[in-house]
């Protein structure tokens, strides 16, 4: 399904995006959304790749400050839901 602004974002949406971004499928399948990604097999290249995919897919910008709060998949889901929808509301 194609995401459109105003729609909710699910863990499954973000996991699919991870796979599109090139993150190992087995790592993605085993992810616990509440546990930091860097403790679950994400490497130093995976996080930039996933973050870039999130920015591109949801048309948002993740700042240096934002990323400090993005440890888990749940963090990403909350961030995307909040920022993508507020970006939509501002237009």
């Amino acid at each position: 399904m194609i995401w459109e602004k105003g729609m909710s974002v699910t863990v499954q949406n973000l996991k699919s995006l991870m796979i599109e971004a090139g993150i190992d499928v087995d790592v993605v399948k085993a992810l616990d959304p509440a546990v930091p990604l860097l403790k679950q097999g994400f490497d130093s290249f995976d996080l930039p790749a996933f973050s870039a995919a999130v920015e591109s897919r949801y048309d948002i910008t993740i700042s240096d400050r934002d990323v400090l709060g993005l440890r888990t998949l749940d963090d990403f889901m909350t961030f995307v839901s909040k920022h993508a929808v507020s970006a939509f509301a501002e237009r």
Partner: protein, 347 residues
């Protein structure tokens, strides 16, 4: 100072870097140079293919000249725990930079260091008007580098088949199993220009042009023998890699003879690459000359000369297309097209 002296100096000063330190991401300062050498040495040992990066004063000089822009993650004590860089490379266009050299100390690979560095690279590119485009050459024996392409909006534009010897960082091995590179490019500051492309390659080039979304006056034709008598060709030999790279900046009526001579002189060289300037009306004819001599279409590299380039290759080794790993659907489609053209030219 040479590489051996640089290595000796770094090893004499070697100290362990404590894990889990705070770091700042910043542009390179001269005092970072030994830390950059230390980082490269810890990751690659003595096998990094560019000698300059073992010699602190050369790193300082390259950053001072703008030929390299190094960005580092630096601890409060001045240790360099990660780096990324953009640099002017073998392209004749000083406004086209290559992106890469992303290195992180093992103890810092579970941090956001590379994320912050990539953001700084992106800000650097956005803020420097002299940087018109970026390209990268990602090895295809793994997907790690290809995964970072979206950060810089890099699009797959060529597959340089069998470009590097296996274990390329050992600086030898031409003729052994070789590794192909996916060329990725992004144009940030463009101007409209003419593009003369061979009709025979239309179906292979159109998807690349579509991805790059350039402003071009594009003509597909079979071209004609140029009126200019002499070609302008610069040739680079990379003996350790078994590669000859030719930059064809001007296409003259003698081009067939030039290609014959290049072919003859190549001898046992594994790979010959020809970058053809694509804003000249003779480019499609030059492609036909190359195809008659066994060159196949590797892709298209925007801004290579300032003008764009058609990239052709000829191999004296048998490529192993089945081992090439390509991540994105666009890269996979490009790989298939290059493979088909290689097979077409062989028959």
């Amino acid at each position: 100072m040479d590489k051996a002296a640089g290595l000796a100096m770094i090893r004499a000063r070697w100290k362990d870097i404590a894990p889990a330190q705070k770091y700042d991401v910043d542009f390179f300062r001269p005092e970072d140079a030994p830390g950059v050498v230390r980082l490269i040495t810890e990751i690659y040992g003595e096998k990094y293919p560019v000698e300059d990066y073992y010699i602190p004063e050369r790193i300082i000089a390259k950053n001072a000249s703008g030929d390299v822009v190094t960005m580092v993650a630096r601890t409060p004590g001045g240790d360099v725990v990660a780096q990324a860089a953009i640099w002017r490379t073998s392209s004749p266009n000083p406004n086209l930079y290559e992106s890469g050299q992303m290195m992180v100390l093992p103890d810092y690979r579970k941090t956001f260091a590379l994320w912050h560095l990539n953001k700084l690279v992106r800000r650097c590119v956005d803020s420097r008007p002299e940087i018109h485009g970026l390209f990268g050459e990602a090895v295809t024996n793994h997907l790690t580098i290809q995964k970072t392409a979206p950060i810089f909006n890099l699009k797959p534009c060529a597959l340089e088949v069998a470009l590097m010897p296996d274990g390329a960082y050992e600086g030898e091995g031409a003729g052994k199993k070789r590794v192909s590179c996916l060329t990725l490019a992004a144009v940030y500051r463009d101007r409209r220009q003419a593009l003369h492309l061979p009709a025979v390659c239309r179906d292979d080039l159109m998807p690349i042009l579509s991805l790059l979304a350039l402003d071009r006056e594009t003509t597909f034709s079979s071209g004609a023998v140029p009126s200019e008598p002499e070609s302008g060709i610069t040739l680079q030999r990379f003996d350790a890699a078994g590669v000859i790279r030719c930059h064809v900046d001007g296409i003259g009526a003698d081009f067939s003879d030039c290609v014959r001579d290049i072919d003859r002189d190549a001898g046992a060289v594994s790979v010959v690459e020809v970058f053809l300037r694509a804003d000249t009306a003779a480019a499609p004819w030059a492609v036909s000359v190359l195809r008659e001599r066994g060159f196949f279409l590797s892709g298209f590299v925007p801004l290579w000369f300032g003008a764009d380039a058609i990239l052709m290759q000829k191999l004296s080794v048998a490529p192993d297309f089945d081992t090439i790993k390509l991540h994105s659907p666009e890269a996979q489609a490009l790989g298939e097209r290059v493979r088909r053209d290689y097979q077409r030219v062989q028959t």
